[in-house]
């Protein structure tokens, strides 16, 4: 049913990705036609959400100007931020709804596309039941859109299956923070980082995935702070690290248990803090006893002396900070890894004070805000639990429905794809999510998509996943609707509308309201603007952990962002959590959480002896739907390469630039080797931003963390073989950055 209607070649020719190298109108256009206004808003890529000013002329974003007054990034931008403006006038941009026919996709009217979508969703629900339809959301959507999607799923469709691609990002951290503190947010503003005496960076490629955070680390060093970096790869920040701990993929938990072991063995814990502010310490202390440095060294590959030294450095600091990201979170024990890091901070009294604490570096555009207001399968707005009767009653009142009408928790993102594969879910509506590139085990995803009876997509470009759809509803870029986002710091920011969607494309929120109308639920979606949606979101979040009630668009503008919780209009917001010594748990205590060792879901073996770990590069964002269309970013790193240590390369007779076939228990891909001494010799690395034969996620596996349901992207087992020559993808000229930068004026 949902196989692409025509050949991949024809789809790529029509919809791209075609890399755009020049701004709309050419490089010289701005000299002739000056921008009419500057719009102060934010970058759409990554959870840092840097302030940026977009140059606008007519209905076109034509360039950017740094926004030096915005306090988080003070004008700084990574290359993605510099080039983000290139999307607006992009030739691949979808201007109309599309309906699939046997001859390919044809342009349709909005009425036809929306009627068709609503009819198919209704038919399938009538035949197979409410829960036969699932919704996929995106963490890069503004909070108004993600709130609306959650309400659309539960009120307009009445399905319990809605989840989002943030499930592939940092949910392990979210789960661990809820367990420890009763709230899912980084507990301090980034301005605390330079004030720490020690910063432990755990599984976070800060330089490439959160580049602006680098400046905070360097300022910490300027002030005399020490930097400890834990990673199987020497990422760029390692060059200035005081200690580098080269952990073996998937063994982070052992390392952090080892640090705790040394701290407790040497009596470096803060007893007064532990007894006043925490519970559960004794059990955790007991569980750390087995992890002596020698045992940990054998598990992790980190020398015992380094473990001793790092533990002492961390524990003896008056103020210590842990920053972690996908490296520890993308594991089948992702929650345990995060809990172990939180335990380290609790044992040393590092929480609720300036320059101290444990924080996740949230990855996606609105990764923090996008998970707070109801597009997670188990949450209602305000970070409320969907199984909590009080939360259901509150939300039902705001929505004007009965609490019993709100479905219970549904499947998470990977579980939804698995339910599609086994035929339980028959229809999918997916918004700004490209699962064919971003979910693990891409062959499985492809099989599942082909089983769908109906597949609708809301997106602004034709993603690889959208090739398989029945209808594509041409939606909006971030700068085309007004709303809010929330940064990795917990700062709620104002996304300004710079332009209208081009052609017949529409704002996403209009699309969901029109669909709701066609599903007979118009009365619940009475919004004239996203501001109306936001006012309802504020009310829905009121009293929840992520309380936005006191945050208005105007208040954000005046204060350069407001940190939640902000329960009333005269409340200044909460940049640093737990300063009163209390967590968000009813008992007010910070909870130590006991962690248990589990082996990876895809263990190395004699047949698959090498660790494969995946990640990102600085010039690409997520599945690349946006950034593979921006020539300046694509030319910086055009295709995925296999990072491999010279010692491992020698064993397989692989030279730099050779084609190498990487095989896992699921599939194989062939790509070029990049022989570097900056990775462990038992591990190879592939960035995941590309589709098809270049897709790292053809190799990854679907093992999930049992609590957070995050896939184990960071640990797979693989074998290597030098290939005879380039694979098909490298021989086809499509989607390659051409040598001549076409149209360069």
């Amino acid at each position: 049913m949902a196989e692409p209607p025509i050949s991949l070649k024809s789809l790529l020719e029509r919809f791209g990705p075609h890399p755009a190298y020049v701004p709309p109108g050419g490089w010289q256009d701005e000299l002739r036609n000056a921008p009419e206004r500057l719009v102060k808003t934010h970058c759409c890529f990554c959870g840092q959400q840097c302030g940026i000013q977009l140059k606008v002329r007519g209905n076109q974003v034509t360039g950017f100007e740094p926004w030096e007054e915005f306090p988080f990034n003070r004008g700084m931008l990574c290359p993605k931020g510099v080039k983000r403006y290139m999307q607006g006038g992009h030739p691949d941009r979808l201007h109309d709804p599309l309906i699939r026919t046997p001859q390919g996709f044809r342009v349709s009217s909005w009425d036809e596309a929306l009627d068709f979508t609503a009819r198919r969703l209704r038919e399938i629900q009538e035949t197979y039941g409410k829960d036969s339809v699932a919704i996929y959301g995106g963490a890069s959507l503004i909070s108004e859109k993600s709130y609306l999607l959650g309400k659309f799923a539960r009120v307009a469709l009445g399905t319990r299956h809605i989840d989002y691609n943030g499930r592939l990002c940092m949910v392990s951290a979210g789960a661990a923070y809820k367990l420890a503190f009763g709230v899912d947010r980084s507990p301090f503003p980034w301005s605390d980082i330079p004030k720490a005496q020690v910063v432990l960076v755990a599984g976070a490629n800060v330089a490439e995935c959160a580049p602006i955070t680098t400046d905070y680390l360097w300022r910490c060093r300027d002030a005399g702070g020490k930097l400890i970096v834990v990673d199987p790869r020497m990422t760029p920040i390692c060059r200035n690290a005081d200690m580098y701990l080269p952990v073996r993929p998937g063994t982070d938990l052992a390392l952090y248990m080892g640090l705790l072991h040394v701290i407790l063995r040497d009596g470096l814990e803060r007893r007064a803090f532990i007894s006043t502010h925490t519970i559960g310490f004794e059990q955790v202390a007991e569980s750390a006893r087995a992890w002596d440095p020698r045992t940990v060294a054998e598990k992790t590959g980190v020398p015992p002396e380094s473990i001793e030294r790092a533990a002492r450095l961390f524990a003896r600091a008056e103020r210590a900070i842990v920053l972690h990201a996908r490296g520890v979170e993308h594991q089948s024990k992702g929650v345990e890894n995060c809990s172990a890091l939180i335990n380290l901070c609790l044992a040393t009294g590092n929480i609720g004070r300036e320059g101290a604490g444990c924080a996740m570096i949230t990855g996606q555009g609105n990764g923090q805000g996008g998970r707070e207001h109801g597009q997670k399968c188990d949450q209602l707005p305000g970070q409320r639990s969907i199984s909590d009767p009080e939360a259901r009653a509150h939300t039902a009142k705001v929505w004007g429905v009965s609490p019993e009408d709100i479905p219970q928790a549904g499947y998470s993102a990977v579980e939804i794809m698995e339910a599609i594969h086994r035929g339980e879910i028959k229809a999918l509506l997916s918004a700004c999510f490209n699962p064919l590139v971003s979910l693990p085990d891409a062959k499985f995803t492809m099989e599942a998509l082909e089983k769908l009876e109906f597949f609708g997509v809301v997106d602004f470009f034709m993603s690889e996943t959208a090739h398989h759809s029945d209808v594509v509803l041409a939606g909006s870029l971030q700068e085309e609707e007004e709303g809010v986002g929330c940064t990795a710091e917990g700062r709620v920011i104002h996304i300004q509308k710079a332009v209208d969607p081009p052609g017949n494309a529409k704002g996403d929120s209009w699309i969901y309201c029109e669909l709701a109308k066609r599903l007979g639920k118009e009365q619940y979606f009475p919004y004239a603007s996203t501001r109306d949606i936001y006012d309802e979101l504020r009310e829905a979040s009121r009293g929840g952990a992520a309380d936005y009630f006191g945050i208005t668009y105007e208040k954000i503008d005046k204060n350069m962002g407001i940190f939640w919780p902000c329960p009333s209009l005269d409340h200044p917001g909460t940049p640093r959590l737990f300063e009163d010594g209390r967590s968000f748990h009813p008992d007010g205590k910070h909870h130590f959480v006991v962690t248990e060792w589990r082996d990876s879901g895809d263990p190395v073996s004699p047949e698959f002896p090498i660790y494969l770990t995946t990640g990102r590069v600085v010039s690409q964002y997520l599945s690349g739907t946006q950034t593979r269309r921006i020539g300046g970013l694509l030319e910086q790193y055009p295709n995925p390469r296999l990072e491999i240590h010279p010692r491992l390369a020698e064993r397989y007779k692989i030279n730099d630039g050779d084609w190498v076939t990487v095989t896992t228990r699921r599939n194989e891909i062939t790509l070029q080797a990049m022989v570097v001494k900056t990775i462990r010799p038992d591990t190879v690395f592939i960035p995941y931003h590309w589709p098809d034969g270049r897709s790292a996620n053809r190799l990854t596996h679907r093992t999930l963390d049992p609590r957070s349901k995050i896939p184990e992207y960071k640990v797979s087992a693989c074998q290597l073989r030098r290939a005879d020559g380039p694979p098909d993808w490298a021989l086809s000229s499509l989607e390659h950055p051409s040598e001549s930068r076409n149209g360069k004026a």
Binding site: P79, T214, D222, R239, D656, V676
Partner: protein
């Protein structure tokens, strides 16, 4: 911009190339980046370096130019070659001790960093230093740099040539100048220079 100085600190560079991309946005050379960027030896290290023109007090490029096409302004900025004068001979490319100027065949002239003349002349900071996420390139007042671990210098010794620049290099504290020739560090350096074989 009055009171602001340009500082380069390769030890802070993370290789993201934001500067390279942002430089293309400059009005005087839109679409062409003037940043000199290199991964030093990617096989061995993630070390990378991004440089702008150092804007020498006595620019070697200008001294080597046979057509007097390279001018230094009153503000100390050494400009790209004057198009009507430049003959694309590459003398400047070969002469510059920092390796900054480039010949752009499509424009048939030497072009290089002019420290964002279009921006600094109207009170805006240069594009590269404004966006640089690690502040390896910084354009700030001197007091904004005083708290750094590394300290600024603008004196470089290339053998017998002493070069003083407008742009500062961040170096370990206590270092007065940057030398690349071992002779500059030898006690008997002067003697060796005298003792060249006849």
């Amino acid at each position: 911009m009055h009171g602001y100085e340009f500082y380069v600190d390769p030890s802070r560079c993370i290789g993201c190339q934001s500067c390279v991309k942002a430089c293309e946005e400059c009005d005087t050379h839109r679409g062409t980046s003037m940043i000199n960027f290199d991964f030093i030896d990617r096989g061995g290290t993630t070390a990378s370096a991004a440089y702008v023109c150092w804007h020498c007090e006595e620019p070697t490029c200008a001294m080597a130019c046979p057509t007097d096409a390279i001018k230094k302004g009153d503000d100390g900025i050494v400009q790209s070659s004057l198009e009507p004068r430049c003959i694309g001979c590459s003398n400047c490319v070969l002469a510059c001790p920092f390796g900054i100027p480039k010949i752009f065949p499509e424009y048939e002239q030497m072009m290089k960093c002019d420290m964002c003349y279009d921006r600094t002349s109207v009170g805006k900071r240069p594009m590269c230093a404004t966006v640089c996420p690690s502040q390896a390139l910084s354009y700030v007042r001197p007091d904004g740099i005083a708290g750094r671990r590394e300290k600024p210098t603008n004196v470089f010794q290339f053998g017998n040539q002493k070069v003083v620049t407008l742009v500062h290099m961040m170096v370990p504290a206590g270092t007065d100048s940057v030398s690349i020739d071992v002779l500059d560090y030898m006690w008997e350096g002067a003697y060796v220079a005298f003792a060249q074989p006849q």
